[in-house]
């Protein structure tokens, strides 16, 4: 039996082509994508609700914190806010809440805040460690009074992802009320730069980078993700097929 390199190559390519065809089959695709549910179930089962992401020492901070995704929203509305030092920026808290809120940056700065040196893990594979300062999301949600029907928190952002579609993400209440889930306005003891999401971004430390929504404009409490974007709960979930649960 003679197996040449060529035969092996052809075999490998044919098998991979078979896998590709399989992945285009709708029900197989669904089965493949449902692994997300297993990982969410397994991880939530293995971790205590308040299990913390690793916090690092100051000497472990990355020399440069890589920025990714949108580097500058550059929309006229955002530029106007930026020119004014975000004095006119407000975080709109809406949806299934007892009281809708409109919070300014200076108001956020007066609220009790949390500092954490954590690792940011991009879905691409790289990591950067930075020191974040911000207000726990729980503080804002408690202030607005979440209704009992609320299941998810949707993050609305200022950056236009093309065709006037702003970035959006969502998390469930298990992560929204986690002690390390903060609305961060400072990175490494400096106000958040435009590349890293000025004036405010989400930190949800037990998930990957695309969940850490930048350029926050609003947070909305909802009971279902079906009406958000195309229904998968986030921009990349809707447009690239990323998992909504990004714990792995």
């Amino acid at each position: 039996m003679i197996l040449t390199r060529r035969t092996l190559l052809l075999g490998a390519t044919a098998t991979l082509a078979g896998c590709d065809r399989l992945a285009r089959n709708e029900s197989f695709r669904e089965a493949l994508f449902s692994a997300e549910n297993f990982h969410k179930w397994a991880q939530r089962g293995l971790m205590a609700p308040d299990a913390l992401a690793r916090e690092f020492r100051p000497d472990q901070i990355s020399p440069v914190f890589r920025a990714n995704g949108t580097a500058n929203p550059n929309t006229p509305a955002y530029k106007a806010l930026w020119r004014n030092g975000f004095a006119d920026w407000r975080l709109q808290v809406t949806g299934l809440v007892a009281r809708e809120l409109s919070v300014s940056l200076s108001q956020l700065r007066t609220l009790p805040h949390r500092e954490q040196i954590t690792r940011h893990d991009c879905v691409e594979g790289w990591s950067a460690i930075g020191k974040w300062r911000g207000v726990p999301l729980k503080t804002i949600l408690d202030g607005a009074g979440l209704r009992s029907s609320a299941r998810y928190i949707v993050l609305r952002c200022a950056d236009d992802m093309g065709g006037g579609r702003p970035y959006y993400e969502s998390i469930d209440l298990a992560d929204a009320f986690h002690p390390q889930t903060i609305l961060a306005f400072a990175l490494n003891d400096a106000p958040l730069s435009v590349a890293n999401g000025a004036p405010l971004r989400l930190r949800v430390e037990r998930q990957l980078g695309y969940k850490q929504a930048k350029y926050l404009m609003g947070i909305e409490a909802v009971d279902s993700l079906a009406a958000i974007g195309k229904g998968k709960g986030g921009f990349w979930e809707d447009h690239a097929g990323y998992d909504w649960y990004a714990g792995i």
Binding site: C19, A35, E36, A42, R66, C122, E205, R206, L208
Partner: protein
Amino acid sequence: MDSPTPMVAGDVKRHRLSTRIWHWANALLLYILFTSGLGIFNAHPRLYWGQYGANLDHAWLTLERIPGWITLPGHYSLALSRHWHLAAAPLFAFALLAYMVWSLVNRHIARDLAFRRGELAPRHIWQDIRNHARLRFPTGQAALRYNVLQKASYIGVIFVMLPLVILTGLTMSPGMNAAWPWVLDLFGGRQSARSIHFIAAFALVVFFLVHILMVLLAGPLNEVRSMITGRYRVPEARP
């Protein structure tokens, strides 16, 4: 392997059903995991040591894009590569766990994989290396047992390399870092774990190539048949 029958020539039952099922499940799952893993790697083909690592940090290895004929899918899609990888990974991990437990229960480990008295003596190991180098494969009764190099590689793969590739994979998960913080300390950080994951995957490829070579040299039809049906024709003793 079942306990060798007294018969020396002819067919014997060699591989248990559990071994055969696990073997072919692994062949498929490791193939999916390796090719989809290369697809994921293409999103950031740089490797680092330590807790963090991104473009402006020092990488110990930087590769060009891995070609499409060996990635799953064949075009660049980080989302699809991740779906394949994360769907196959738990199946692979739980299959290994089940196989380990079952092999302990049915005494496959104690009977066939554990080293026997005298096998680890340098003289015996040296003899085995010489036999391999001269392609003198055991015949008759001796062909029914794993030799010491075979045992060492199977033990190394089942109890070291495969658990290592699974644990380093889990160490890259921010969720698992919160659930099991000790994995970060075990491997010295997420980026170290990512590097070790990559190295372990290629070590498994080396095992696979040697494994295929050995099967080809030892008689591919008989070897492949024994892994499908379980029946193995005992090679006759050399005259």
